[in-house]
């Protein structure tokens, strides 16, 4: 199985995960402040700032794009409940 690495800078933790893992699945387990509200891509609670490796993340869906826009999110922000790491590495912190 292809692996990827996610680094959560707020808890100084890097975790190796199967490619395709949603950020939220790991962020809670390692104790990061990236936590969920609705887990359905509606509330924007899990807003995540991507420090490095944005190119290794899944493209945002129309739903995610809408919620990001409504939350006035920055260019490097994603929703942890929607966003998957597809390979390589990415470094994130709470948005």
């Amino acid at each position: 199985m292809e692996k990827a690495t996610l680094t959560f800078t707020d808890v100084a933790t890097t975790v190796t995960v199967p490619a395709g893992t949603r950020i939220i699945e790991m962020s809670e387990k390692v104790g990061s402040g990236i936590t969920y509200g609705c887990r359905e891509g509606e509330c924007g609670t899990c807003l995540t700032h991507v420090i490095e490796g944005a190119e290794n993340l899944s493209e945002p869906s129309a739903l995610e794009l809408r919620v990001l826009a409504e939350n006035m999110a920055g260019r490097k922000d994603r929703l942890a409940c929607q966003c998957r790491i597809l390979g390589g590495a990415a470094k994130v912190r709470p948005g």
Binding site: G31, G44, M72, P94
Partner: protein, 422 residues
């Protein structure tokens, strides 16, 4: 009893600007969390220009009758060009669906973050209306005058914004600068003494978002306002800037932060085992340069002053024994109260002694994570009294927490299954 008698009609704030809200003198509890000894008011406003009328916010649903009666005294529904929603909580949008039925041509202006709530409020009717999200600097023309919008999120919901009417130098702030204080005299220079209500309102509604409040004040303070028109309580026409300055003072942490990172180790202990761990964690944290740790036995502490201290601290470690498969009530009481203060970016940790199952530590971690604290270290659990080795591990735990506070923690590298195991 003059103060409890409502004005019969709309009340002029300035030429072309009227209060069209409603009074609720009998309310004794707002949103469950605020006691309202003096009731409250739901302030809504109508602003007229040469090109039409803007309605700024509405009222709680059961007061819609009074709102519409006052509105009809200053404007026809077909004159309404804009409906401004500074905040979508039900006490301000209760009359909105009916207002839109009566004035379907009106454009609804709100912050982008308000859109999901408006969709939920209007449901199938959402698509039938002209809805325009606005952000700081955008305007809505009323012909010979205009409204300007300022996005001020989290004062106290994500959607909150303020509206500026430059012609009359009036700032419509919705819940910001509000107070639950019902007085039919409406204006701060005529109403009874509402200082307690003003401060209580801030504490219960705004305090968890105090950084956002400060950001909003920074954005609004340069405006040359002559009057602040909030959505609850007296309209601030005499010395309105005093209320901004008072709010700025209230938005500061009650206790100042020292030069060192502060870690509070707070515990409850039945037989001294969790207390022993707490002492070890405290002592370990103290060994890290630049960190000041403090130890509190919650059994002997009042929660309210502790909240002030937590607000000023950088991290908290909470310890509880497991009794009846649960964390103890004092810890739950404290954790419930944590929602009353700002916790953004703080570090959290859990520890405790147990006899059989030891659920308390996981429960504390779940609650702290739900409050969006970062928990860089898995909780520390010890069966019965900690051994010398376990006390050493407690000290190490404290040192690691302190290192995280200082940004000196060594990077942790895990595989997914390890992370899942916590």
């Amino acid at each position: 009893m003059r103060s409890l008698i409502g004005p019969d009609g709309p009340v002029a704030l300035a030429e072309g600007v009227h209060w069209i809200g409603a009074l609720d003198p009998d309310l004794r509890s707002f949103d469950v969390i605020v006691r309202t000894a003096n009731g409250t008011s739901y302030n809504a406003y109508a602003v007229r220009g040469s090109g039409g009328v803007a309605i700024i916010d509405t009222v709680k649903a059961e007061f819609a009758g009074a709102f519409f009666a006052r509105l009809e005294a200053v404007a026809r529904y077909d004159e309404i060009r804009f409906i401004v929603l500074n905040h979508l909580e039900p006490d301000h949008t209760g009359a909105l669906p009916e207002l839109l039925r009566r004035a379907p041509q009106a454009q609804v202006l709100l912050s982008p973050r308000g859109l999901p709530l408006l969709r939920a409020l209007l449901r199938d009717d959402f698509g039938r209306y002209d809805i325009r999200p606005v952000t700081t600097g955008e305007t809505a023309s009323l012909g010979d005058c205009a409204l300007e919008f300022f996005t001020t999120p989290y004062v106290h919901w994500p959607d909150t914004q303020c509206t500026w009417f430059a012609r009359q130098r009036i700032l419509f702030t919705c819940d910001l600068f509000g107070s639950h204080f019902c007085d039919a005299r409406l204006f701060n220079d005529e109403a009874g003494d509402f200082r307690l209500a003003f401060e209580h309102y801030f504490d219960r509604i705004m305090r968890p978002f105090r950084s956002f409040v400060t950001e909003a004040l920074d954005l609004l303070e340069p405006l040359d306002f002559a009057l602040i028109a909030p959505s609850h309580g007296p309209i601030l026409r005499t010395n309105p800037r005093d209320y901004l300055q008072r709010t700025r003072a209230l938005a500061k942490a009650r206790l100042g932060a020292g030069p060192e990172k502060a870690l509070l180790v707070i515990y409850v202990s039945a037989y001294g085992a969790t207390a022993g761990l707490a002492q070890a964690i405290h002592d370990g944290a103290e060994q890290e340069p630049g960190v000041r740790a403090a130890l509190f036995d919650l059994e002997g502490a009042e929660i309210a002053p502790l909240l002030d201290l937590i607000e000023a601290a950088d991290g908290i470690a909470l310890g509880s024994p497991t009794i009846n498969g649960d964390a103890v009530r004092r810890i739950w009481d404290l954790m419930a109260a944590l929602a009353e203060i700002e916790l953004r970016g703080k570090l959290g940790a859990a520890f405790g002694s147990y006899g059989w199952s030891g659920e308390a530590v996981r429960m504390i971690e779940t609650r702290l994570q739900g409050l969006k604290l970062r928990l860089p270290e898995p909780g520390l659990r010890v069966r019965l009294h900690p051994s010398a080795e376990e006390l050493a591990e407690g000290q190490d735990f404290g040192r690691r927490l302190a290192a995280h506070l200082c940004g000196r923690a060594p990077a942790r590298v895990l595989d997914a299954p390890e992370a899942a195991a916590g």
